[in-house]
Structures are given as C-alpha cells and as structure tokens.
Symmetry: C2
Subunit: 129 residues, 2 copies
DNA sequence: ATAATATATGAGCATATGTTCATGTGTTAT
DNA sequence: ATAACACATGAACATATGCTCATATATTAT
C-alpha cells in the first residue's frame, strides 16, 4: 500500500469531523505503516488467546517442569480426560506443545523455549502492577 | 495445603482406574506443589486474554510507537470511537495502558515496559514455528 | 446558558469459548 | 478375536466476548 493510498484512507471513522487530531496526520500515517503485517497481528493475538485461559496456563506450568502424558496432566490439574485432551489439542494447534507417542501413551511437552520467557516477563508485569 | 492433603487429593478424575501413570505419584505431587498460587495463575490468564485479540494487539502496537489520544487511535485503527474506547478500558483494567488527561483529550500510553518484551518474545516464537 | 467536542459506558446481539457427555480410534494384553 | 486401556473428537449447552447503537459525562468555546 502506498503512502498516498494510506493518506486517502485516513478519513474519519470516529464520528468526529476530523478538524483536529492531536498528532499530525503524517505521524499517524507513519504509525500505521510501522505495523507488522495484518496476518502477523492476527497470529500474535491467536498466540496470546491460546495462553489466555487458566486451564491452559496450568497445563503449561506443569509441562514447564516435566514432559507428561495426558493421564498425568489430568491428575495434576484434577480435570477430566476429555477437557484436558481438548485443551492439549488447542495448544498443539498453536504450536505451543508437541506430542511424542510411546505405545498407547502420548507424551506432551513444550514446543518452544520462548514460552518460558513469555511467562517470566508476564510474572514480572504482574508483580510490577 | 500439606503434602498429605495433596496426596489424598490425587484421586483419579480421568475415567481411569489409576493403575498406572507414567510418572511416579510423588513426582506429580511435586509438580502440583510447584505451581504458582491459583490467583496468580488466573491473573496470568487474564493478562494473556487481554493481549489475545487482534484489535488490542493493534492498539498496543500503535502505543508502542507513541502516546496517542483516543481519537488518533480511532484513525490509526480505522475503528469507531466506541469500539476503541471499550478496548482501551479493557487494557486499562489490566494495567497494560495508562491515561493522561489534558483538557478534554485523554492520552493513552503503555503502562509497562514488559509488554514490549512479551511482544518481542512472541514474535520470536511465531518466526520459529 | 448553549453548543460543540472528546471520551466513557450500558444494553443488546451475534459469535466464540470451555466444559461435559457420548462415542470413536489406535494400541496392548489375554 | 475380545477386552482393556489411553487418548481423540463431535455435539450440545451455558457463559463470555466484541462490536454497534444510543446516550451520558466532562471540558471548552461562544
């Protein structure tokens, strides 16, 4: 998208008449251009959504400590096998966890070292607040 | 909660008969004990949930670059004032953004340096995948 | 005071989410 | 082959979410 096109696109959608915005229009155009592409924005939101549930947070906390089979996750979280399995699938689709099958048992573990960092940063944020 | 009580609590909820779990029971007890407290778990999930929406991700991206008034966020995101205002409130309640009022204008900015780190880590995760 | 501007918010609605329940699939044991 | 076990999954249901619409609040200008 050209800078021209973006400029045209900056018509007002806010129910204002556009007489004044506190930042100069060029600055706003610049901010819009500096965005990562839309698909990445959506992917980031998907990633955070995957982490944005207490059950999934607890699963990740467990897997941070040790690779576990579905059965053991059920025990640690005290939840039904179905609920846990659904959530593990969710986390697998987001590439947060991975599987390893041994006979009829499926072991889950974290698929990414970044998750640990993200958790650490978030804990810092919560303490700071 | 004592270790005894936890051990008692580890009855099977998964529709299994508990004959075998791949990790020894003591290990599972240990994993359960190493959890951060439940309220922190919930807070973390709340935090991620706040980041887990494309609109809010875009707002944060904008504010990462520059403090902006509500009106300007509307322009940059091309969304209605109401929708933006609702989302800003959400982010404010989660302490991700803060307000600064000047006359009738309200400027929003990020309330926490950790958010930038979390975003960076998450982008790394997405590239890795 | 009246109007205009900037933002905030409650209600309503369509869609998404998380769990349960029932059942399916794949593996091991007898 | 049959049963038992470990896990996966579709349907259904209650609740949560994100937007729109209308309206409220607060500040500034005339």
């Amino acid at each position: 998208m050209t800078q021209e096109a973006l400029r045209e696109d900056l018509t007002d959608e806010c129910g204002h008449d556009g007489a004044d915005s506190s930042a100069p229009r060029d600055t706003l155009v610049q901010i819009k251009e500096n965005f990562v592409d839309e698909s990445t924005t959506i992917d980031m939101a998907e990633m955070f959504k995957a982490l944005g549930d207490p059950t999934r947070v607890r699963i990740i906390y467990a897997l941070l400590q040790k690779e576990l089979c579905v059965h053991d996750v059920c025990i640690v979280l005290d939840m039904t096998q179905s609920a846990v399995s659904h959530q593990l699938r969710y986390l697998r689709n987001t590439r947060i966890v991975k599987r390893r099958k041994v006979g009829k048992t499926v072991f889950y573990s974290l698929d990414d070292r970044h998750v640990e960092e993200i958790f650490a940063q978030t804990l810092q944020h919560l303490k700071h607040g």
